[in-house]
C-alpha cells in the first residue's frame, strides 16, 4: 500500500514497517538557466512483494526520483533534501561506499534502453557476473556460472554460449532479459524498473512483463515500475502513483485509480489513451498545453494552466494555493470529493467508453 502524505508541512515520520519509505523528497539541479526543481516534496511507501506503478509525462520527476534512491544523480549539480529509507537505512546522506553496497545488491535497477545501458565493450556474461563478484565475493568462475544460470532463468536459450556474446549480438528483447538477469543476480529486495518495456515491441513487451511478474513471485522483491503506459501499469502494479511536475497528484490502488480516478490530470491521461473498442471517428483527447518548465513552476496547483475544471473550484484558489495530498487514497485537487465523483461519472467516463 502506498501512502502519499501532504505536499508541504512537517514530514510524517517514516512508517517503521515500511520497506522503502520516501519522505518529503526535494531534488533540484543547478543548470545554466537556473535551478530546476525536478522533484518537489514527494512522499511514498512501498512494502516487500508489492509493485508500485509510477505514471506521468516525461519530465514529471519519475526517473529522477528513482535515480536519487540509488544515489545515481550527479552530486556536483544536484541538491537532495528529505529522507529515503530503505529498510531503515538513510540513503540520501549515505556515503558513496555504503551506496555501492546497496546498489545492485539490495536495490537494483533496470533501464529503458538496454542497448545503450549495456556496455558494448564487454560480454553479456561478464557484465551480469560483475555485481555478483563484487557483492558476494564469489570467484570469477562461480560468478560466471551464476550469470549463465540467471540468463537461463530469464529465458535466454543456450545461455552457456550466449553469455560469451556481446550485447550487440542480442536482439532487443534478449538484451532486456539480460538486463533483468543482471539486476536480479544478487537477489535484490527492491527492483526499480524505469520504463523497461518502452523500447520493445508489444509481443516482447508482454513476455518481459510476464517474466518480471514470475520473477517477483520467486524472489519476493518489491518493484517500483515507472512508465507512461497506463495499459502496462494496469497489468503490473498493485498501487499507482500519478506524478505531475515533480510531485504526486493522485495515488491509490490500481483499481481505484483506474476505475474511479479523481484528479483532472489522471482523467486527461486516460482520455488521451487510444482504445481498440472506441469509435474510430472519435478523436483522441490529448491534455491541452505542455508540461510546465520546472525552472519556474506554476503557482498554486502545478496543473492549473492546463486544467479545464478550475472554474468549478471558483475564485483564484487554483492559482494561489497548492492543493495537498491527503494520506491513503487521495488526489491533490481543490475540487470537492462530490465534484470529482460527479465530473468523472457524468463527463469523463462516457468518453472513455
Amino acid at each position: 500500500m502506498t501512502t502519499v502524505t501532504k505536499e508541504a508541512g512537517a514530514p510524517v515520520p517514516a512508517d517503521a514497517g515500511a520497506f522503502l519509505s520516501v519522505r518529503d523528497l526535494h531534488v533540484s539541479f543547478r543548470t545554466e538557466d537556473g535551478v530546476v526543481k525536478a522533484v518537489d516534496g514527494l512522499s511514498f511507501d512501498l512494502e516487500r512483494g508489492r509493485t508500485l506503478g509510477i505514471v506521468g509525462e516525461s519530465g514529471s520527476g519519475k526517473s529522477v526520483t528513482n535515480l536519487t534512491i540509488l544515489g545515481l544523480h550527479n552530486p556536483q549539480f544536484t541538491t537532495v533534501e528529505g529522507e529515503i529509507l530503505l529498510e531503515g537505512q538513510e540513503l540520501t546522506t549515505a556515503r558513496e561506499s555504503e551506496l555501492e553496497k546497496v546498489r545492485g545488491n539490495k536495490a537494483a535497477m533496470i533501464f529503458q534502453d538496454a542497448l545503450a545501458s549495456l556496455s558494448p565493450y564487454y560480454t553479456v556474461g561478464r557484465q551480469i557476473a560483475e555485481p555478483f563478484m563484487k557483492h558476494t565475493g564469489a570467484s570469477k568462475r562461480a560468478a560466471w556460472a551464476r550469470a549463465v544460470e540467471m540468463l537461463g532463468k530469464v529465458g535466454i536459450p543456450n545461455p552457456k554460449e550466449r553469455a560469451k556474446d556481446y550485447p550487440h549480438q542480442f536482439s532487443g528483447g534478449m538484451r532486456q532479459r539480460a538486463m533483468i538477469a543482471m539486476a536480479l543476480i544478487c537477489d535484490p529486495d527492491l527492483l526499480i524498473a524505469d520504463e523497461p518495456t518502452t523500447a520493445l515491441d508489444v509481443t516482447v513487451q508482454a513476455q518481459i512483463l510476464d517474466l518480471l511478474k514470475s520473477l517477483q513471485q520467486e524472489f519476493g522483491s518489491a518493484i517500483v515500475f515507472i512508465t507512461h503506459d497506463l495499459g502496462v501499469i494496469a497489468d503490473m502494479a498493485d498501487d499507482i502513483m500519478v506524478m505531475y511536475a515533480g510531485g504526486a497528484v493522485e495515488r491509490g490502488t490500481t483499481n481505484e485509480v483506474l476505475r474511479s480516478p479523481q484528479h483532472p490530470y489522471t482523467w486527461g491521461l486516460l482520455n488521451s489513451m487510444p482504445r481498440l473498442d472506441s469509435d474510430l471517428a472519435a478523436p483522441l483527447a490529448p491534455i491541452p498545453g505542455a508540461p510546465p518548465s520546472l525552472l519556474t513552476p506554476p503557482s498554486g496547483c502545478r496543473f492549473h494552466p492546463r486544467c479545464t475544471f478550475q472554474d468549478r473550484v471558483g475564485g483564484t484558489r487554483c492559482i494561489t494555493e497548492r492543493p495537498l495530498l491527503a494520506p491513503d487514497r487521495a488526489s491533490a485537487c481543490h475540487l470537492t470529493a462530490d465534484q470529482k465523483h460527479t465530473i468523472f461519472v457524468e463527463e469523463i467516463k462516457p468518453r472513455l467508453g
Binding site: L72, R103, M109, A116, P120
Partner: protein, 326 residues
Amino acid sequence: MLRFLARRSLGALVILFLLSVVTFLLFFGMPRDPALLMCGKGCTPANLENIHHVLGLDKSIPEQYAIFLHNIVLGSNDFTQGPCPAPCFGYSYHTNEQVWGTLMDRLPTTLSLTLGGAVCFLIIGLSTGLIAAWKRGTLIDKSFTAGAMVISSMQIYFLGPLALAVLVYQTHIFDKPAYNDFTADPVTWFTGLIIPWVVLSTIFASQYTRMARSSMIEQLQEEHVRTARAKGMSRRYVFFRYAWRGSLIPIVTIFGIDLGSLLGGAIITEYTFGLPGLGRLAVESVFFSDLPLLLGVMLFSATMILLCNIVVDAAYAFIDPRVRLA
C-alpha cells in the same frame, strides 16, 4: 584480419602510386631546371644538355616515370654513380648519394625523436587528462585545463629556443641536443634527445590532456556507465573499465595521425634543435629541386602515415567488439 590487412595494404599501394604520379607531374611543372643548379657558373648549353642526358631528364615524362617504377621494384645498374639495389630511388642530384641510403641514414634520428616524444606526450597527456576528468570541476581540473590551453597555444620554435637558452646555455643542466647512435652509447643518445622530447611532448601532451578529459567526461555520461554504477561497481572500476575503454577510440585515432606525420619528419623540431632527420631532408630536397630525394622522402612519409592508419583501424577491432574487420 588477414583479409583486412591485405585489402588495406593494396589500397595503400594505390594511394602511393597516385601520390608519386602527382609529385612527378608537379616537379616537371616547376619553373626550375635542376640541371641548371648542378651546372653552376659558366654553364654552356652543351654542358647543360649533357647533364640532362646523365640525369635522364631528356627522356619523356612517362618514360622517366616508367624507369622510376622499374628501379623501385627491381633496382638498377644504369646509374653512372654505381649499382643501385631495390628499392632504388636513384641518386640525389645534389649530393650524388643513393636516396635510399640517405633515407636510412636519417631514419634513426626521426624514429628516436618521434617514438621517445610519443611515449612522453602519451604518458603526460593522458594521465593529466584522466586526472582532470576524475577531479572534474575542482581546482586541479581547472588548472590542468588552463595550463593545457596555454601550452597548446605555444609553438615549438618558441618553446624550443627558450628551453635551449635556459637549460643548456645558461644553466648547463643538459647537453646540447644531438643525435647519437643508440647502439653505440645509449646514455648520450638519451641525454642528447631529452630536450627535443620534452619540448615536442609538452605541445602534443597539452592536446592529449584536453582530448582525454573531454572524451572521458563524455563517456562518463553514457548510459552504460550509469548502469555499471547502478550495479554497485566502484567509481574507480567504472572510470577505468567502462569509461576509459570508450574514450580510447578518439584518442587512438588522433594518435595514429600524429604518429604517422611525425614519423614522416618533424620539420620544425628538427630545425629548431639541429637534428638531421627526415623532415630536414624533405625541405632540402625541395630547396635543391632534387627530384629523386623529393620522391623518396615523400613516399616514405606517406607510407608511414598509411601504415599508422592501418594499425589504428586494426586497433579499433580490439577496442570495440562491434567493429568487424573483413
